[in-house]
């Protein structure tokens, strides 16, 4: 029960962990269609121009733009239909001054043309003559060769998480296989003499294992590969044995459950017995999530999470999830913060100075304004998990917030 460690802030905890963790290293080549949600292990550059030729963005007529200068409804420019562009084919011949070629959206501009007149701004006079009623500028209604992606340019940066639309962009660049980081393998060990698996009907005194399953889901969601190691009793040798197996087969291990003081001592001792440097911090200056252990063993990370499911998930989101979905704690480059939104809190929340508070909230809109309704309830309740769809942060240094005040929030 002696407190060997001073509670650290989230920022301090991240610095300590980062100093003992070098990030994911294993990579693999996978086919394009499997790449969604995976993180690129190398930047992707275009091998050639996209599009590979200058093409029309409208249905109409390819022209030399200067032939249309001065055209108007009252005084159309009359031009000769000298050819037609067929989709997917290279136009044969050259467009000369005074001529137009018929062209559809996506068609290749014939040599000599530098713009396209939309069909809506032409009138058909005779079989081979059209009247253009609006001028076009050079380059109008066309995408130039390489305008979208120039050969050699960056398509997607290193460490980018491949999104749905990126599959289309990669296909456009002719990329059919990508080098990605292998998902981090995460071992989940549940502890507690009172915990039984969900298929068992608990006798009085026993409860079902919640954390293993909630964390399994959270790991999957963050792009990791979870592995359950079942439930072990709060006993040094059993915890050590299970932890040792999980460490040998995973990149990161989470020990969860067992929220009593004795359990935390067992966890700390078991971790320290398995290698160096062992426990890095024990205790976070946050609420909930205080009884958290952060440890490193020979380059792998071990987290001892609080026993309460809601607390365990808060710590998971703050300290584990970023390592799974972006490999580190560094802020993403798209300018988004970790708590990207602001909302008005609907009731007073007390906090303690020097402590960061994370409140599970239900976010909802009313007349375009975002509100955060704190989901209150005793800390051991699991149904609060279902009611909340976001997390609000009350930064350290504040003694709380009053109803109507603005808080930083994130959506789950």
């Amino acid at each position: 029960m002696t407190e060997l460690f001073k509670a650290v802030t989230i920022t301090e905890a991240r610095k300590i962990i980062s100093a003992h963790y070098s990030g994911p290293k294993k990579t693999e080549m996978i086919p394009l269609l499997s790449a969604q949600g995976r993180r690129l292990a190398e930047e992707v550059r275009a091998k050639e121009d996209v599009p590979g030729f200058t093409r029309s963005t409208v249905d109409g007529f390819a022209v030399q733009a200067r032939d249309t200068f001065g055209a108007s409804e009252g005084l159309p420019d009359y031009l000769e239909i000298a050819g037609e562009v067929f989709m997917g084919e290279e136009p044969k011949g050259r467009l000369e001054t005074g001529q137009v070629w018929q062209i559809a959206t996506g068609g290749m501009l014939p040599a000599g043309a530098d713009a396209v007149v939309m069909v809506e701004y032409t009138e058909n006079l005779e079989e081979k003559i059209i009247g253009v009623v609006r001028p076009v500028a050079p380059g109008e209604n066309v995408i130039r060769q390489g305008e979208d992606i120039a050969a050699g340019s960056l398509v997607l940066p290193f460490s980018h998480c491949v999104k749905a639309h990126d599959l289309g962009v990669l296909a456009a660049a002719g990329v059919t296989a990508v080098k990605v980081f292998c998902p981090l393998r995460v071992g989940i060990v549940s502890t507690g003499d009172e915990v039984v698996p969900p298929e068992e009907k608990p006798v009085p005194g026993k409860v079902r294992d919640i954390n293993s399953y909630a964390l399994y889901g959270a790991v999957t969601e963050a792009g990791g590969q979870p592995h359950l190691y079942g439930i072990v009793r709060d006993d040094f040798h059993r915890v050590r044995e299970s932890l040792s197996a999980a460490l040998s087969e995973n990149d990161l291990v989470m020990l969860s459950g067992g929220s009593s003081v004795g359990t935390r001592d067992v966890a700390r001792e078991a971790i320290n017995s398995l290698g160096n440097p062992g426990v890095l911090f024990h205790g976070l200056s946050i609420q909930p999530g205080k009884p958290t252990i952060g440890a490193a063993i020979e380059g792998k990370l071990v987290f001892g999470l609080p026993g309460h499911p809601a607390s365990a998930l808060v710590v998971f989101h703050l300290l584990v999830a970023p390592l799974l979905y972006k490999g580190s704690y560094y802020e993403e480059e798209n300018g988004f913060w970790e708590f990207p939104l602001t909302a008005q809190i609907t009731r007073n929340i007390r906090s303690a100075p020097g402590r960061e508070d994370f409140i599970r909230v239900k976010l909802f809109l009313r007349q375009g304004n975002l509100y955060a309704e704190p989901i209150l309830g005793k800390s051991g309740l699991i149904t609060t998990l279902v009611k909340a769809n976001g997390l609000a942060r009350i930064t350290a240094g504040k003694e709380g917030v009053e109803a109507g005040e603005t808080v930083e929030v994130k959506l789950f």
Copy 2:
């Protein structure tokens, strides 16, 4: 080139589609650990109380609350340590007036006890006597039997999409298998004489297939099961053949690419030749996304999407994605709107009255305010896909928005 149909609004299109589509019907039982991201085909109710017994939420001493009334630092109440609760076991015996039992977080309250005093508010006097320095109310620091989930109560509603933390809640309720809807199978047919697969180096006039891949990703993201049917030429018989195969093997088919006027005619005719009622609408009063076809064939849906990838994805998000992730267009119950956030637009955007505009934007925060920077660029460009992380809506009836005005946005 004749316009047989009047362009419809998104709301009208949804009504028309809903009238011809009865939603997903196929269900399956799957193990708990596979349920994440799946939609429940039946509500889940608790078979028994959670927790199954009254338990402590702190480390301390079980008491009869009235024995602590009036206790203070100056005048502690002295009580006898008469027993100890072991984790996971049913306490043997009964706590009598004047007694406390030692108990850890999660331990089962002994009969006779109705509250727990935190260890921090006690002082050890003799081996068997403690002093309580703060009173507790009945029920304090305990979770009563069934307080979290009462037997028979609703755990998760019908049609709920199972989230990470729900796995924990289901485990708590003893649910190890769940009945979920099978993901909708979505066939994707790409059309266009100019389109080649990504592994092919396009000769002048040809471009690589982007839409199949972007849509494949988007379908996966929305919880559907995509199947690619390759690229077919803009020819009635070939489109019909491919469409027919895709329809027989899927619940919903998307025809994409081929943005020229002729292509749309081919698509419409091919759809109408395959069954009833055929094409329901052709043309949406939105920008981008106007040249969209909505059709139903014997209870299955067919969408003809615009050829431009960015346009195809906008229509996908508005008309197809909701059917995949929630089975219908009905608003979700959690109070969220489809465009849940508001942001200040960073530049003037023109619109046309009577038309809804959807602008791809880059959302970013500055001093706690959300801004939407329109990603401009010719409609055929695909790199705009990568730059945008959200979509802004300019409702019909407005002639545009000015820089600094508030717009409704959604994050991708």
